[in-house]
Structures are given as structure tokens and as C-alpha cells.
Symmetry: C2
Subunit: 288 residues, 2 copies
């Protein structure tokens, strides 16, 4: 039974998870820690956490579930630091955007007999703004929550088959998510297309527009809803996406290059029947 | 006084204009015609128009305001056909997405003493779906409505300074729009960045994703809100955008090529500090 949850990293996602867990009926205690004190204070004020940990190691030891809700490199760092102080009574999980390196570390540092279990996770939800003050208990509702554990060689213990693992999966569903299990490598390839490419594309488009029309703010209003949507992700924080770019470079690079080629093709066919073909293929995406 | 409006082309935009005009308090009659009978029937059913014209030429002659709400090439075609049958008691205006060719045709075929006036217009609003059945009387609320008339050499009459022109501009404002006057060439350059580039980019991205992950519909759900937003415009109809591509080729081509270069730059810097710079420039866009 999970009675105590420790959220390490109480920014937008961590604080939202605290709120969502409470909204789903979790009655245990939720404690939080963040290297940025403002984040824990905001999370506390919003009741996303009930108390602020003084020492993250002690808080982790005193909890059954430890939720790592930082950017990917910080998750990898905390995995190294926490593994020696935890034991088989703990489940560690995370909200990291890329999963290959985290899942490899999970099988190296956790999931062996006598060790803490580690269940790599990734809720497909977010906002273009960061910080606990923007936390939203409904953020994960209707989203897909991907798990990529359960892939290590023997005698690796499957984290999803521990009591706490099973219970955590139930809480994730209670938060309104659909859970999917994927191989970590397949996860990273897939999200390169459906999540990372849209983000880096929005960044490139928005940076370009800032360069071209940024000195005429009244013109931004001209674009209307279409422009607002296509540039919303342009506000996303570098701190999170740097780690995605570093830990999924190959797949992201491949996806961006494919888009460059597709744009070149479209540009060269602005006045040929090929343009119709591109619109027809695109039109099928929502219907499929 | 505008007592009778003729909407030529009762698709999404034309029918929405009919509804918006009514909602703004217009009490005259609104008559509609479309080459596709289903569009006029849907528009009539939704009360976007009050009656269906049997003959578009007679309907135009019998109205004070003629609103051309078709794709650009059809607008140019109707401008040619209507000019000889109209006179100084008429104002023709349009909702076309590009303005250079339409404005040139307006100064060639209209706006001379004794002729009908033509005020080129472009409401910066739309949807990714087409058809009168999707019409929305609130579509233009809060949008910018650009006019590009008033640029011809003497003895050209300024359409905005005719009584009907002045009244039409008031109705546009009554529909909840902010009106802006721009040179037609400047309009086409500007919308290439803030409207056409986002559209063609969304088409390229969506066509690419359909090619890459289209055979796995369950994976589309994984992307969540960000993916939905970035691919919504992928559903836009070719019929409208073909004319944009043809009539604003140079500016659109320039904008797409600039984006290709920006994407290449970002891709080559996924692991360098340049990535931070791109995020910081993009972050400024919404704040500016």
C-alpha cells in the first residue's frame, strides 16, 4: 500500500501529478522537494504537496513511491544518487520525456533482487509554460501514459509486477490516463515523430517569425487562431527540451531532416498537381 | 444604405459572413448563390442567407453590396464577369486570401467614375473545415479584417470613400473585427509569414506524419494536445490553398525556404548552445 509519495521536482508536471493524485482520491501524504524553493512553495500553496522535504534522501527513504519529475538529465542523476539509499520496499518512477537512457539506468541500478524497483513512465501531457504555479490537476486527464519498464535481462524484477508497481499503475488510470507499455527504444522513435518533431518545429517557426515580424507586434494579431496554435509551443522552456535533444538526438534529427525534405518538396511544387497530393495525404491524418 | 447583400459563394466563409452580419444587427435581405447547390441549401437552412439566387448576375444587379466569398481564382473570374453588368450604385468586396492580383484587377475593372466600386478585403479568420454546414456567426469576432483598396492611380475612386464603402467598413467593425488598411503587396508578403507559412508547414508536417505513423491510428492519441494543434490545419482544403500557392508563390516560397534553413540550423545544433539561443528567440515571440 502506497501511504507516502515523494515528488522530487515540483514544477509544472510534478505539482500537477500531486494535484491529480489527490483528485483521484489518494489519501496518503504527498511530500515535495525542488532545488528551486519557489517551486515547492507554490506547490504547497496550491496543495499539490502537503509538506516540503528538508532532505530529499530522507524523504525518499520514508516514502513508498518516489516520483522523479525533473528534466531527463536530472532524473538520471537522481537515479544514481538514490539507488544506494533505497531498498525493495520502494518503487521509483519518473515523468521523463525520453526513455532509452532512463530504462537502461533502471535495469543497471534498480530492479534486481533486494533493490528498489524502478518503473520508467511518460505521461503524454504538458504545457508550454513551466512552474508549479501553472499546475493543473486535470492535465493528465484523457492522456496516454506510457511505461517502458519490464525489459531487463534475468534476474531483473519487473517493476510492474511488484505490489507498489501494480498500485501505481492503478493510480495512473484513476488520474484519467490510458496506460500503454512500449519498448524504450520504440518509445523514443515514436515520440520523436509525434511529440519532439512538433516541438522543435514550433520552436524553429516561432524563432523565424520573431526574427521576421517580431518588431511589429500588431502584426502577430493578424495571424489569428492558426498562428497562435502553431506558435504556442514556441514558448516551451529550453531547460526541458535540451535534455530531449541530447538524449534522443538521432531519432529527432532524422525526423527534422525528413520534414526539411518534405518542405522542399512542397515548395518546389507550389504550382504543380503534387501540391494536391500533399494536401490529400495530410487530410487523411485526422480521418485515419 | 445597404438594403440588400448578395453573397456569391456560400461556403464556410460566405455563410459565416451572412450569420455574422445578421448577428451584428443587419436587417436588410441577404441572398446567396454557390455553384454547389448543397452549400446554398445548407446556408439557407442555417439562416445565413434568406433566399437562393436563381441567376447570380441578376442578384448582383439587384443588391447594393456584392460579397465574393470564393477561392481567389474564382474571385478574379467573377470580377471580370460582373464588372460589365454593375454600375456606380454597387460596391463589390471580397474575402480572398491574397490581395495583389485582386487589387490590381479592382483598379483595372472597377473604381473608375461611373463604374462599380471594389474594396478588396481579407478577414484573418477561418477553419480547417470547409462548407456552409460549418458556418459560425462568431468566426470573425476579435479578428483583424484587412482592406487593400484605395491604391489606384487617378481618376480611380477610393472605394472606402463611397457611401456603401463607408457603411460596409462599419458592418465589418460591428461583426467584431478590427480593420487595418495595407498596401496589397505588403499584405501578401506579411500573410506569407503569419498565415500561409503556418498552413503549408502544417500540411507538410501532417503529410509526413501520415506517411510515417498513419498506419497506427492509436499512436496519434499519444501526441496529445500539442500534436492535435500542430496538425489541425493539415485538414485544410486544397481547393482554397491552391489559389494561395499560385497567387503568392514568390513570398510563400521565400518563407518556406527560410524555415527549411532554420530547421537545418536547429537540427545541426541539437547538442550545442545554439539550441538555447533558438528557444530564447522563440520564447520572445509571445511576449513581444
Amino acid at each position: 500500500m502506497i501511504e507516502r509519495v515523494f515528488i522530487l521536482g515540483t514544477g509544472l508536471l510534478g505539482a500537477s501529478a500531486g494535484l491529480a493524485l489527490r483528485a483521484a482520491g489518494f489519501n496518503g501524504s504527498v511530500i515535495g522537494w525542488d532545488k528551486d524553493q519557489r517551486q515547492t512553495q507554490d506547490a504547497l500553496r496550491l496543495k499539490a504537496i502537503q509538506s516540503i522535504a528538508l532532505d530529499p534522501f530522507e524523504a525518499a527513504q520514508a516514502s513508498q513511491l518516489i516520483l522523479l519529475a525533473t528534466p531527463v538529465f536530472a532524473i538520471l542523476d537522481w537515479m544514481e544518487q538514490l539507488a544506494p539509499v533505497l531498498n525493495a520496499s520502494h518503487l521509483v518512477t519518473d515523468l521523463g520525456s525520453t526513455k532509452a537512457q532512463i530504462t537502461a539506468a533502471a535495469n543497471r541500478l534498480y530492479n534486481q533482487p533486494g533493490q528498489a524497483a524502478f518503473l520508467p513512465g511518460h505521461p503524454m501531457a504538458g504545457k508550454e509554460v513551466s512552474g508549479a504555479a501553472e499546475a493543473d490537476g486535470a492535465l493528465f486527464r484523457g492522456a496516454v501514459w506510457i511505461f517502458t519498464g519490464d525489459t531487463g535481462p534475468p534476474p531483473t524484477i519487473s517493476p510492474s509486477e511488484t505490489d507498489i508497481g501494480r498500485e501505481w499503475r492503478q493510480w495512473v488510470q484513476a488520474m484519467g490516463c490510458r496506460t500503454i507499455d512500449l519498448d524504450a527504444g520504440r518509445h523514443d522513435e515514436l515520440v520523436a515523430w509525434v511529440s519532439h518533431l512538433p516541438q522543435f518545429l514550433a520552436t524553429a517557426l516561432t524563432a523565424l517569425l520573431e526574427t521576421e515580424v517580431g518588431d511589429a507586434p500588431e502584426l502577430k494579431a493578424v495571424g489569428g487562431r492558426a498562428l497562435r496554435e502553431m506558435t504556442r509551443l514556441g514558448s516551451s522552456p529550453y531547460s526541458m527540451w535540451r535534455d530531449v535533444a541530447y538524449t534522443n538526438t538521432e531519432a529527432v534529427s532524422k525526423a527534422i531532416q525528413a520534414l526539411e525534405q518534405r518542405l522542399t518538396h512542397l515548395r518546389e511544387n507550389l504550382r504543380t498537381p503534387e501540391l494536391r497530393e500533399e494536401f490529400e495525404i495530410a487530410n487523411r491524418f485526422r480521418k485515419g
